[in-house]
Amino acid sequence: MRSLVRRWPAIRQFLDGGDGTGREAMSARTRALAPKTSGASVSRSVCPYCAVGCGQLVYHRGGRLVAIEGDPASPISEGRLCPKGAASFELLTHGARATRVRYRAPFAREWQDLDAETALDMIAERVWRTRARGFLAARDGLPLMQCPNIAHLGGATLDNEENYLIKKLFAGGLGMVAISNQARI
């Protein structure tokens, strides 16, 4: 009975001292609350939208993302993110994100599913066949070494390491020349 009365908030605040506006006003549940990032692992990251290059702290726990916040230590952004950067947690976790390989056969009206390894096998086969058909090794006795009938677009949203391998394989390995991205000047 005595302990039941003691748990009564008004009594408890009086007994615990204070003026009723501090921790004594909290219930045990409120006191146990912690930020959702508490105890989470943190990865240092960079915002993927524009090129300001704001620092991000990516919180994750058990292999799942918890939150993405601005990195106060960044000398560029000092912890700030704009509306897009602040939405980058949703960018990675939203329901409309495509997570399966899709395949559309010629003249089909709908997608079908395809295993990722099979898709790569099929793409490699298409590249090989198309390149063999179009390759121009020389013209007028001078080297051309060109695969003119396969093209590439994109790169400004990718990592430097990814752009490097794309250029190396597509130009240096396959002889593709129609390679372009969002950049002009």
């Binding site: 990251s45 390989v101 395949y103 013209r139 001078l142 070494m145 390995g173 396959l174 390679i179 969002q182």
Partner: protein, 830 residues
């Protein structure tokens, strides 16, 4: 890229965002920085709080204008006339920072006697060949003495010296001419001019910030040139609070030109070999591109080390693999090859992190071309319109294209997001920042590194079993990257180490591009990035210990961690700082080296008084007071004797579609630009009564480019749910449109619908006594996702600026009318 590259030497922002706080004046033009780069704009606000003057020059009054001291609305596409007016103001009032200009620019060089300018030739420069529609730049060269040295006049009085050429060339760009061309009242212009160029000299600097509002024009590279010339005349380059900040719009768009997924470049701005005898062998290619002095004297070391990285040191007998590199032989640019695709000459296409069905000029043409492919691979985080063109494009919805008759085979391979993979982005100030992997990507999502590596593995296996000679390069291509995890994810750091370079004998990482050799003993995937990974385990892009005003110790800025380029110019020719307030890098007599607040962009131990001995080459061939070390003369180029296809100086030409005849010259448009005119890419005439209003496009804070990373996100879609068209009250009055009505916007290419938004932020200009209206459209929207709208790029034409083949999407002509029908697929305002 060639705008900044030709003038200063490197195709990158010369400064860092944090350095804006050191500016006395900031001119933002062709950008709504507060909206498109909000966190970078904090540095502008900080500068203004510290007393800097902020000027915004833009057709639209935006939040950037609201936070500026002055807003100067100009007609879209009139930027060279505006900058020309500022240059004329500086020259006619003798306001140039003379000591800087004489010492650090090519102002004193004499130009050949046979040069003639647009004043003499009805708007053309000498050397124009009408048959080939191209310039021969021979007459634009320096006048040289018998020993090949340029003739100079340090007094800047000789009528053929570059300073006097500028005085004459820009004499037409009076405040009255600015008013005629830009629609900016001369009083407003003079106020901007007076306040931006106020007291140039040792104790004052200003920065120019720009974005694609300056570049996406048929004169794009020359517009940037005009900004760069102004900055050189004011002595604003290489100094704190000075320079040009190019505001890039994608996380690593600077990186994707440094390590270019582009047709005409190899990593580190080495040109792709062009088909012909000059690229028949490695030796001939080097002879063509190597410079006797400056950084490009190392061209042989850069290219051989790149070839060693790609084909291994064992490829020596094949010109290190140079014989396997493709030669470019035509217009392989985005728009160039896309037109080939529309004509059925491209069979397969990879699209990786781009959405041309919405984001590319004349998007309807781009979508129709996709239907002519044999196969298409799209990699993205959502099913962007480019991946689904065959089932829900506007052409399919209208019945023009029928899925049953589209033979394109489509593979959609979902991509990992930034926190699901590791690697580096290069930001707008050339800073490489590593992003760590936090979690595994979901489902089938994989990094592009994974995709390209495993595709390459399969193709190399095929090449190994197919000994046709043109597979030799693919067989030799080095492709040994360690992998980890259940999906064999390649290690990004191993790729970054290859980019940084190593000694081929023992794979010891290189400390910088100075260690590169031309004999195959070093390997380096991108010479300007060499130094980012100088020791095993020391990935400097990962560093997170910022120190000092420029954040050294946080990431790694190319080249050699220099945060402000050309910073030798922050000191006087004798090596002392121009002023205490503007000091950055200076010569330390006692230590006999350059020192200061930034890494010197200069050989550390070359004294200010150094004069190169005869026969010196490379950096040793530059004197101790030549800050622009990429150039063989070590100078900033007010005049570009080489490197540009449309003139040694900027000249105002009208946009390819314009409301008026060019008031400056009889020549209407940039003669070297290409309209790519054809039935599916038509143009209006200039002027054209059917298309009386200027059309420009822009970005919103809440969306990103073609929407692949923003239109499916609920919060962003809630903030900006639908396409709208911003017009002035005066144009609203003429068209009968009110806010919330459906407006129809029509160009020679197509028509779209959008909600009308009537605001005073748009205002008509008075040009040659006529009222000219401007219409602004944000271009992010497309038919799918949560935030939808018609594709604005359906209105835009394909066209090619001569230097970089950029399209003119910021100044076209349109008409606006009231629409009675609600367009299908467009939601009402929520």
């Amino acid at each position: 890229m060639p705008g900044l590259g030709t003038t200063f030497g490197r195709g990158g922002a010369t400064t860092a965002q944090q350095d804006l706080v050191n500016a006395d004046a900031i001119l933002i033009i062709g950008s709504s920085m507060a909206e498109a780069h909000p966190v970078g704009f904090r540095w502008v606000v900080k500068a203004r709080e510290a007393g800097a003057l902020v000027i915004h020059v833009d057709p639209r009054f935006s939040r950037t204008s609201a936070l500026a001291d002055l807003w100067a609305p100009i007609r879209a596409g009139s930027d060279i006339a505006f900058f020309g007016g500022l240059i004329h103001y500086v020259l006619s009032h003798d306001l140039a920072f003379r000591e800087y200009v004489v010492a650090y620019t090519n102002a004193s060089m004499l130009v050949r006697e046979d040069f003639k300018g647009p004043d003499d030739l009805d708007g053309l420069f000498s050397g124009w060949h009408a048959a080939s529609q191209a310039y021969d730049p021979a007459s634009w060269q320096y006048d040289r003495d018998d020993e090949g040295r340029p003739r100079r006049d340090p007094t800047l009085k000789h009528p053929r010296c570059i300073y006097q050429q500028l005085v004459r060339h820009f004499a037409r760009y009076t405040p009255e001419m600015v008013e005629r061309v830009c629609g900016l009242p001369r009083e407003t212009f003079l106020n901007v001019a007076r306040r931006y160029v106020e007291r140039p000299g040792p104790d004052r600097t200003g920065t120019i910030c720009y974005a694609v509002g300056l570049t996406q024009h048929s004169t794009g590279a020359q517009i940037i040139r005009s900004a760069a010339i102004l900055q050189l005349l004011l002595g604003n380059v290489g100094r704190p609070g000075g320079g040009i900040l190019a505001l890039r719009g994608h996380a690593s768009i600077q990186g994707s030109t440094d390590i270019p997924t582009l047709y005409d470049l190899l990593p580190g701005y080495l040109p792709m070999p062009a088909f012909g005898p000059e690229s028949a062998t490695l030796a001939r290619y080097i002879v063509k591109h190597r410079q006797p002095a400056g950084m490009w004297a190392g061209f042989d070391r850069y290219i051989v080390s790149l070839l060693a990285a790609w084909y291994g040191p064992g490829s020596r007998e094949h010109d290190f693999g140079f014989e396997w590199l493709p030669r470019i032989s035509g217009d392989h640019s985005h728009q160039g090859y896309w037109l080939d695709m529309a004509d059925g000459r491209i069979d397969g296409l990879f699209v990786m992190g781009q959405n041309p069905a919405v984001g590319a000029p004349n998007a309807a043409l781009e979508r129709r071309a996709l239907a002519r492919l044999e196969w298409l691979v799209v990699r993205d985080m959502v099913e962007v319109e480019t991946a689904t063109f065959w089932k829900d494009s506007p052409e399919v919805r209208s019945g023009e294209l029928v899925p049953d008759r589209i033979g394109t085979e489509v593979f959609f391979v979902p991509a990992a997001g930034h926190a699901e993979k590791e690697g580096t982005f290069t930001n707008t100030q050339r800073l490489l920042q590593w992003h760590e992997k936090a979690v595994d990507p979901p489902g089938d999502c994989r990094s592009d590194l994974w995709f390209v590596f495993h595709l390459g593995r399969r193709l190399k296996a095929r090449a190994a079993a197919d000994d046709r000679p043109w597979n030799a390069g693919l067989r030799a291509l080095t492709w040994h990257y360690p992998t980890r995890g259940p999906h064999d994810e390649p290690e990004s750091e191993a790729v970054l180490l290859e980019i940084n370079g190593w000694r081929t004998s023992d794979r010891e990482p290189l400390g910088g591009s100075g260690e590169l050799a031309a004999d195959g003993s070093t390997s380096c995937g991108c010479w300007i990035y060499s130094g980012v990974y100088p020791r095993a385990g020391d990935n400097r892009a990962r560093d997170r210990r910022p120190q000092g005003p420029y954040g050294h110790g946080w990431g790694y800025a190319w080249p050699a961690d220099r945060r402000i380029l050309y910073n030798r110019a922050s000191a006087r020719p004798d090596g002392r700082p121009w002023s205490e307030r503007k000091k950055l890098v200076w010569w330390d007599e006692r230590q006999a080296e350059w020192t200061g607040l930034d890494t010197p962009d200069f050989p550390r131990d070359t004294p200010p008084a150094y004069q190169p001995p005869p026969g010196a080459s490379g950096l040793a061939a530059l004197p101790g007071d030549a800050p622009f070390i990429m150039h063989a003369d070590g100078l900033g180029w007010l005049w570009a004797p080489a490197g540009l296809k449309d003139g040694p100086l900027p000249a105002h030409y009208e946009p390819l579609e314009s409301p008026l005849r060019n008031p400056v010259y009889p020549q209407q448009t940039n003669p070297a630009a290409d309209r790519r005119e054809r039935p599916d890419n038509p143009w209006a005439s200039s002027p054209d009564p059917d298309f009386p209003h200027v059309l420009t496009t822009y970005r919103l804070t809440e969306h990103h480019t073609a929407g692949g990373m923003s239109r499916t996100l609920s919060r962003l879609a809630e903030l900006q749910p639908a396409l709208f068209c911003e017009i002035s009250p005066e144009l609203a009055e003429r068209t009968g449109l009110r806010t919330g009505d459906r407006a129809r916007v029509v160009t020679a290419r197509g028509r779209i619908e959008a909600f009308a938004l009537v605001t005073k932020r748009m205002r008509p200009l008075v040009i040659e006594g006529r009222e000219v209206h401007q219409v602004a459209l944000p271009w992010h929207f497309g038919p799918t996702g949560l935030a939808t709208g018609d594709v604005v790029n359906d209105l835009v034409a394909m066209s090619e600026e001569p230097n970089v083949k950029i399209m003119e999407s910021k100044a076209l002509m349109c008409r606006v009318e009231r629409s009675s029908v609600l367009s299908p697929g467009s939601p009402g305002p929520r």
